[in-house]
Structures are given as structure tokens and as C-alpha cells.
């Protein structure tokens, strides 16, 4: 979108950089002063986060988060595949409803409605089932878009070579569809991992809920939740990075 910059433009970029760096430094200083004024930067308030028991507790929460996310992912992908394979009025309505109703509402139904009908699942499933129901609709949309994104000529070419229908799907359409879907699948995985933070509501001992317990115990609310947020950030960034690397590798082998 841009021409190669000339000397005048480069000078302007330089000055804009200097001014914005100063503004940025000012904002950071202001924020730090606000934190320091409340005593939140006191080393005493941060030292617990250098000790192993605290980290063991939080990492235990992270493990539960990952387990819940994996269980949800598997269930939701199976559900999404079933929905995507049979596009009819019911599955479309299902996807439309799940796209608009908050997961929290489904969680409340699990927590407050179903027990009165005699269906009282363990905490883990009270979190996983609503999440899977909701994310299955997203996976269905992704799968359908992925298959639609493959040029129909590819299928026709396969058939004209005399390949059976199943083999065309398996060896021609699906590999290309998966490659198109990868970025969306990663976004979906990150969103799923974030949604397991609803364990906070269900009292399932995942990362955010453990943060709440820890903050209640040691009274270091800000520090605890900043550390928890940081863990989420690192895990999700690693997830995206890994997927990008995978994708780059596959793009190379495709040629």
C-alpha cells in the first residue's frame, strides 16, 4: 500500500516515533504511579508469586482448564461434524440459536434447571456440556465453510480420473479444506480455552476459579488476577504460534 519511503518521509516517521514513545512512557509512568499510590507495587504483595506452592496451585488450575478445554473440543468437534454433514432446517436453526444465546445462560440451565428435573451432573460436566453444545455450532460453521471453500472443479477432476467418491473426499477435498480451516480452528481453540473460565461460575476448580480462591485466601486480589491473566496470555499465544508454525510447514509440503 505504500511506496518505498523517501528521506522526508523517513524523517517524519522518526519524529512521530519519538513523540509517541514519549507519550507511551508518560502513560506507563502514570499507571505505575497510580498502582504505587495504592501500595500495589509493594514487593511484599508480589513475593508470594515467586514461591512454588502458589504456582503449584495455579498450574493445577491450568491443568484443569486444559482438561476441560480438550474434553469440550472433542465433543464440540464431533457435534460440529454431525451438524455439518446434515445441513437441514433443524441443524441450521440449532446453529443460529447457539450463535446468539450466551453460554452463561446454558450454564445456568445446567446449574439451576436440570437438577429440578433430576439430572444433576458432576461439576466438570456442568461446565463442559454447555460449552460443547455452544461450540459445536461454531465448529459446524467452520467445517461447512472449509468444505465449501474447495473449488468444485477439484472434486470433478478427481471423479474424472476415475477415483471413487469416498476417495475424492478423503484425498482431494478434505486435505485442502483442512488447510483453509486451520486459522479459524486456532481462533476457535483460543476462544474455547477462554470460555472455560466460566468455571468461575460453576465452581469447577480451573484457573480463574483457583485465582478467586487464592485471592480470597491471601487478600492479594490484583496481583493474583494479573498473574492469572498472564498465564492465559502465555498459553493462548503459544497455541497460536504453534498453529502458525504447523500451517507454515504444511503450506511448504503442499507445493
Amino acid at each position: 500500500m505504500f511506496d518505498a519511503p523517501g528521506p522526508r518521509f523517513r524523517r517524519r516517521v522518526f519524529w512521530v516515533s519519538v513523540v509517541s514513545a514519549l507519550v507511551l512512557a508518560g502513560l506507563v509512568a502514570l499507571g505505575l504511579r497510580q498502582f504505587a499510590a495504592g501500595g500495589q507495587l509493594d514487593p511484599v504483595r508480589w513475593r508470594p508469586y515467586l514461591t512454588w506452592p502458589v504456582w503449584r496451585y495455579l498450574l493445577g488450575g491450568l491443568w484443569s482448564t486444559v482438561v476441560a478445554a480438550c474434553a469440550t473440543g472433542v465433543l464440540a468437534m464431533v457435534g460440529g461434524l454431525l451438524l455439518a454433514l446434515r445441513p437441514n432446517r433443524f441443524t441450521r436453526a440449532y446453529a443460529e440459536v447457539m450463535r446468539t444465546v450466551p453460554v452463561l445462560l446454558l450454564v445456568y440451565v445446567m446449574l439451576f434447571v436440570l437438577p429440578s428435573f433430576g439430572l444433576n451432573l458432576p461439576l466438570f460436566w456442568k461446565l463442559v456440556v454447555p460449552l460443547a453444545l455452544s461450540h459445536a455450532a461454531s465448529y459446524a460453521v467452520i467445517f461447512r465453510a472449509g468444505v465449501d471453500s474447495v473449488d468444485p472443479g477439484q472434486r470433478e477432476a478427481g471423479l474424472s480420473l476415475g477415483m471413487p467418491d469416498g476417495a475424492v473426499t478423503r484425498f482431494v477435498v478434505l486435505p485442502q479444506a483442512v488447510r483453509h480451516m486451520t486459522p479459524l480452528l486456532v481462533t476457535q481453540a483460543v476462544s474455547l480455552l477462554k470460555d472455560t473460565s466460566l468455571g468461575y461460575v460453576v465452581s469447577y476448580t480451573e484457573l480463574l476459579f483457583n485465582g478467586r480462591v487464592l485471592a480470597n485466601y491471601n487478600g492479594l486480589l490484583i496481583q493474583t488476577f494479573i498473574v492469572v491473566a498472564f498465564i492465559y496470555l502465555v498459553v493462548n499465544l503459544a497455541l497460536s504460534r504453534m498453529a502458525h508454525r504447523l500451517e507454515a510447514g504444511r503450506a511448504r509440503t503442499a507445493r
Binding site: S17, V97, T100, S116, S197, L208, F225, Y232
Partner: protein, 204 residues
């Protein structure tokens, strides 16, 4: 009955205000990511990654319970609004950015070849084409935002989901109450979808 009205109005107000806020902040962040100054591009990228990769519920807890401890006191509704708007702004910024970069590079080159300045080519060639393409992604973000406002109920805002839960405690009519709440969200999403289609036709 007043609980129903309060919950519904709070959800609608939170959705509209947060979306307006997210659009404003998201536009600024998208501009930061496009501007040819590496430092500003970095700031925009960090903003998007940090907000997108941390759950909204964590942000809400941090804002609602954390901000008062560092001496920033706001009414509960506005704290929730701030967190939701800043969170969704990251998604808005990405939608706007990919809208601009989805306009074929050849279009910008053609505009330059015709002698249009950078500002002219942005104003007359790139933005009109990008505008049409961002309507649908922005509508999807608006619908996701409607759902996200339910999380404000967890930290104490009386939104529709929380109201439904409280009404259910009194009435013990779970099927009726939760289906009703679900229908309200459906209606709001349908309204957003309709508005987006009208807007898209207008821009086409």
C-alpha cells in the same frame, strides 16, 4: 416484573454503549496497526494480542474488583462497560484491519499509477471497498458482544441473564424464564443481523 425490565434494559444499554466504545477504540487501534511507524504498529499489535488472549471474565473480575483497590472508583455498570468495550475493541481492530488488507494490492497500485496521493487513494479507492467488506464481520462481533454482556452479570450487573436467574429463584418456573431470556437474545441478534443487511445494501 421490574426485574425483567431492568435486566432487559441493562443488557440493551450495555450492548449498544460497549459496541460504540469498541468501534471508537478499535478504529484507533486499527489505524495504529496500519500506520507506517514501526513503534505504533507494535503498540497496536500488543493491544490486540493482550486483550484477545485473556478471557473477558478475567478482565471483568480484574476491573470490577481490582480498580477500586488502585483508587479508580466508577459505578459498576460503567466499569463493566469499560472492560467489555476495550475487550471487543481488539476484535473490531482486527476486523477493520483485515477489511483494509482484503482490498487487492493492485487497487492501491492502480490508484498510485493514476497519480492519486496516499490520502486520495485511501479516501476514494481503498476505504469504500473496505467499508462494504467489514459490515458482516462487525455484525458478527456485535452479536458476540450481546452474548458477552451476560458475563457482566457474574460480577454483579443486573443484566438479563442474572435477572432470569433471580426471577427463577422466586417463580421456580425455570423452563419459562430461561426460554424467555434466550428469546430476548435471539430477538436482539436478529435485529443486529437485519441492520447489517440494510447497511450492506446501502454501501453496495
Amino acid at each position: 416484573m421490574s426485574l425483567v425490565v431492568e435486566g432487559f434494559l441493562n443488557t440493551v444499554a450495555l450492548t449498544l454503549l460497549s459496541f460504540a466504545g469498541a468501534l471508537a477504540v478499535g478504529l484507533v487501534v486499527a489505524v495504529l496497526r496500519i500506520v507506517p511507524v514501526p513503534l505504533l504498529q507494535g503498540v497496536g499489535a500488543v493491544y490486540v494480542e493482550v486483550w484477545r488472549n485473556i478471557p473477558l471474565l478475567a478482565w471483568l473480575v480484574l476491573f470490577v474488583f481490582g480498580l477500586p483497590e488502585v483508587g479508580v472508583k466508577m459505578p459498576l455498570f460503567w466499569t463493566a462497560f469499560t472492560a467489555i468495550a476495550l475487550y471487543e475493541a481488539a476484535f473490531v481492530a482486527e476486523a477493520l484491519r483485515s477489511g483494509v488488507s482484503s482490498v487487492a494490492a493492485g487497487q492501491g497500485e492502480a490508484a498510485r499509477a493514476l497519480g492519486l496521493s496516499f490520502r486520495q487513494s485511501l479516501r476514494h479507492v481503498i476505504l469504500p471497498q473496505a467499508g462494504r467488506r467489514v459490515v458482516q464481520p462487525l455484525a458478527n462481533i456485535a452479536i458476540a458482544l450481546t452474548m458477552a454482556t451476560a458475563l457482566a452479570g457474574v460480577v454483579g450487573v443486573v443484566d438479563m441473564t442474572r435477572a432470569a436467574q433471580r426471577i427463577n429463584l422466586e417463580l421456580a418456573q425455570p423452563l419459562l424464564v430461561f426460554t424467555g431470556a434466550g428469546l430476548c437474545y435471539l430477538v436482539m441478534a436478529a435485529g443486529i443481523g437485519f441492520g447489517a443487511r440494510v447497511l450492506e445494501r446501502r454501501l453496495a
